[in-house]
Symmetry: C2
Subunit: 337 residues, 2 copies
């Protein structure tokens, strides 16, 4: 299939230009750390390529705007605001989770220390609101209200995630709620803001919001599958990464909640003190699969993607952009990183 | 003199009510940690009193609004937004500085861990913008733009502060710039937002902004004096707290920059590896004083306070509220904690 990264060159360039110019407004030290985080420079500040994210969220904003009005330029600040919030949360979450690698490179706190990572996150967080404020008027106030309450959801999700680590049994419903708060909410906000800046009606905004939310949850299911069975060369994480960290991700929680006899063995591995060795990790992955955790994740991702597309039917949106959104959704489900 | 805390009962109550209702919107776990941080509960969640801050910044917002229009109710969300940003930065700075005590109680990261402290800070940061966004219209967008660029200043100041720790010689000008970014900018923002929400003219807003900025810098000079000579029972910090942490605060930088022979001995104590003992700490305080660091701070604070008051003269502001702002300024310079 066509790689997502080959498409939407104009939109990607507009996002990149706005993001770079926003980052230049940061204090010099924070701007330098941001340039590393976004993959524009290496740790020594020399120009670099690669290491940028997939920019799915800002693309969602621009495609949502196109679906309403055909244009997307007015939504660029909102797209970049969403990308800044996403990256602020990544930088802080990496400190919290003590993750050392992201996008095939050492994380910000690992290279520059916790102080700079906290402050870069804070700076990107404020910058997102500053960008939206700069668009002026009541629309800016509405967009900021949406984005700020989404940050509240992100934090709720991250708090739940850290609390899950300390608990033995997690229900599938609360695990799904956590994923909605942690991932789906920001993708729902991305499409909402695109529709808002394109002047969408409330029913157009609601349809695009539902699309973003459902796609976001599908996205998290795929992410959780890649966290176990993803190719390390593609994901940039270690093999069996989530099992190594004993993450209670969706496939693991689904497996533990099953009535299969293998669930008890999996629970035992997760409860055992000390790190799991390579043989135990491979066994844990087999157990998740045997308990139906892998197929549950695949089915959920496919169902949610279809349901995301369904949200756009008969919503009075432009056909060409709807096709692009559906294509983006399909490539998200088909992704390998 | 009349204690600041005895005055403005109506304004304080309105701030407290709005702050508590805002904090209730946070995710339950974050709300619980916030209640501890604001001194409403103890670490176990039992109701407590004391430990709240002085609420100088939100009071500045409300008094600035009064100076413009006589009323202050419409500025309450802005006052609370400023207080939330102040507290978000305190919670994150305490992690960065590894400070274990604030307002006579263990800091948030010390009680609840770094994860909860990072997330509470992030949550209060977003909540501040959400409150302003809720006031709606272009005024909200303007206020958010001001507050977001102030957060940028706070981060710039905090970055400079941490970089200073690694450097031997700091100029008085760059130290002042750091204090302006770290402290004065938010007090300037507090009065700006008050004036904005009261519908002030651009010259009224500029006068109140100058008042806040100058008072903020005076405030930092006093803070730095208390960081060396403050009574631990009043400040809630250890005796010679800033010297113990080898902080390059304004009086220390002024002393090191002097041509007094004692400056070299002070520089030697600051450069020496390992913690300073009580005798060395007392000696360091004597050296700062002998080099004129203490009187420089006292003169600067008094001069800046007078200059803050001067900014309000002939600015077309209401006399009664101007008198209250001046009184607040005087009590800030006269404060002992």
């Amino acid at each position: 299939m066509t790689m997502l990264t080959d498409r939407y060159a104009d939109e990607r360039e507009a996002i990149d230009t706005e993001l770079r110019s926003a980052v230049e407004r940061l204090p010099a030290e924070a701007s330098r750390v941001a340039a590393y985080h976004f993959g524009w420079t290496d740790a020594a500040g020399r120009p670099a390529t690669g290491g940028s994210g997939k920019a799915v969220r800002p693309l969602l904003t621009l495609l949502a705007a196109k679906a309403v009005s055909g244009g997307w330029r007015s939504a660029v600040p909102a797209a970049v605001a969403v990308e800044l919030v996403h990256n602020f949360s990544l930088v802080h979450d990496d400190i919290i989770d003590r993750d050392t690698m992201r996008r095939h490179r050492p994380t910000v706190w690992k290279v520059f220390g916790t102080t700079d990572a906290i402050l870069l996150g804070d700076a990107m967080h404020a910058l997102a609101f500053e960008l939206l404020a700069g668009t002026g008027g009541d629309r800016a106030a509405k967009a900021i209200g949406q984005l700020a309450s989404t940050v509240r959801s992100l934090i709720e999700g991250q708090l739940a995630d850290t609390r899950f680590e300390e608990r033995d049994r997690i229900g599938l419903a609360e695990c799904t709620a956590m994923s909605e708060a942690k991932t789906a909410s920001l993708m729902g906000c991305a499409t909402t803001l695109g529709a808002l800046y394109a002047g969408g009606t409330s029913s157009q905004i609601a349809a695009l919001r539902d699309f973003g939310l459902r796609l976001g949850l599908a996205f998290q299911h795929i992410d959780d599958l890649l966290g176990i069975w993803g190719d390390p060369d593609a994901t940039g994480k270690s093999v069996y990464s989530d099992l190594r960290n004993r993450k209670k991700s969706l496939p693991v929680v689904a497996a533990l909640a099953s009535d299969r006899p293998e669930a008890a063995e999996l629970a035992g591995l997760y409860a055992r003190p000390g790190p799991l060795d390579e043989i135990e990790l491979r066994r844990a992955a087999e157990l998740v699969e045997a308990c139906g955790g892998r197929s549950a994740g695949e089915v959920a991702a496919a169902t949610l993607t279809a349901s995301a597309s369904a949200a756009l039917v008969d919503a009075g949106l432009r056909e060409e952009a709807v096709a692009e959104l559906n294509e983006l959704a399909m490539s998200t489900v088909g992704r390998t990183r």
